[in-house]
Symmetry: C2
DNA sequence: TAGATTGTTAATCGATTAACAATC
DNA sequence: TAGATTGTTAATCGATTAACAATC
């Protein structure tokens, strides 16, 4: 029925978009007006072919013989990433990580508004973090009834995250940004993006050890 | 010269290891003694083929007709990931994210000791976060001279991260866990693992919008 | 032994890279 | 126009999946 998105765009391409976006932002700051896929490829350490393939998933943003207009390309990728759209988000878990995320100013600039923080600890309830109120987790249902929420950011302990995730999905929230080390078992109508910090650190450790062993001859 | 690692193991395989490790840890908690690649594949949502291929990069840990001994496999993957080895780490940037990471108990359990925190703000210097002292960034050099440091965890603003990363590599630190949104330009003898939170959130937003648009028919 | 399941080779699939005609 | 560089098709590469002989 729908016209667009005949060709399914692979997740690998999607995950590169924010990186293109950052590099283009840097180019704008450097007052560079146009760039070829070749020059961008050198800056980013990827092939020019890949850049052209990636961009052409979404449209022909360049011009033969000229390259890409930096500002135009930046805007187009911004549109693809939905920088112009706003998401309303809640943080569940007002621990250290929840605190850090609540204080991260960058999310708002990217279209993500944090509208509430939830915790089970009564001592935290009623406090304010970066102008955002902390509510009791039991008030989540009534909160969501009054205010639409797109994304739940889960910074609760691993032992509690499945329970919290079920609650959140039952309330109709469709996106979860999961900071707990646990994989969530949820239906396919919910989008989950994981930030498994320990996993990332362990991969760093593996690569580091590999490098050190390799160079020791 | 060396016997092992004739075949280069792909980074895709490495990045799956922590996930296997977590699932096996869960199985141990459930008191499950043995598991076939088929059953594990169903739990993890990947193919049994992939599990067997991945594990056989490192050795034959299973037994025909039986499957894998959970505890043994857990130990082996732990060894591959170097859970038994210790890394000494410093955090640079005592902001909210630095604070959150300093308070994360899990890293120590995985072999990563945070031995110092550094910041440029004199008001933070001398304070203690989770029993770890905060030093002035200018004292980094003398600190590293006295105490070996494997990994620098960078939670400084994007505007400062390249400068800090150069300093850190000049002092001989070989691993960087980078939490700033900036890509680091460094030599090839240093291992960098990035945690680009904004990128991750933007990918979530893209996937969420795609899902919502798709289901609206 | 018979059944189950691995380790491993072969086939498939998808993603990356190369090549080049189109065109600014 | 000539040169440069895209958009796009074709070739390559690597990763995933399937198949099955080996064997517990």
């Amino acid at each position: 029925m729908r016209k667009k998105e005949e060709k399914k765009i692979s997740i690998a391409v999607i995950r590169r978009l924010p990186r293109y976006f950052r590099y283009l932002s840097d180019l704008i700051k450097l007052d560079i007006k146009r760039i070829s896929s070749k020059e961008l490829s050198q800056r980013m350490g990827i092939t020019a072919s890949q850049i052209r393939q990636d961009l052409n998933c979404f449209g022909g943003f360049g011009q033969q013989g000229y390259g890409y207009n930096v500002e135009l390309l930046y805007d187009e990728i911004g549109k693809i990433l939905g920088i112009d759209k706003r998401f309303s988000c809640i943080i569940i878990g007002a621990g250290n990580m929840g605190n850090a995320l609540a204080n991260y100013q960058n999310f708002r600039n990217r279209g993500y508004d944090i509208v509430g923080i939830f915790d089970a600890d009564p001592r935290k309830v009623g406090t304010v973090i970066n102008d955002i109120k902390v509510y009791h987790i039991d008030d989540l249902e009534s909160f969501v009834a009054k205010q639409h929420v797109d994304i739940a950011i889960l910074t609760v302990p691993g032992s509690r995250v499945n329970e919290v995730a079920s609650k959140v999905t039952a309330l109709g929230i469709k996106g979860i940004w999961n900071f707990s080390p646990t994989d969530l078992k949820l239906g396919s109508d919910i989008v989950v993006e994981n930030v498994h910090l320990s996993d990332s650190l362990m991969v760093l450790g593996y690569r580091l050890r590999e490098k050190l062993n390799g160079s020791e001859q």
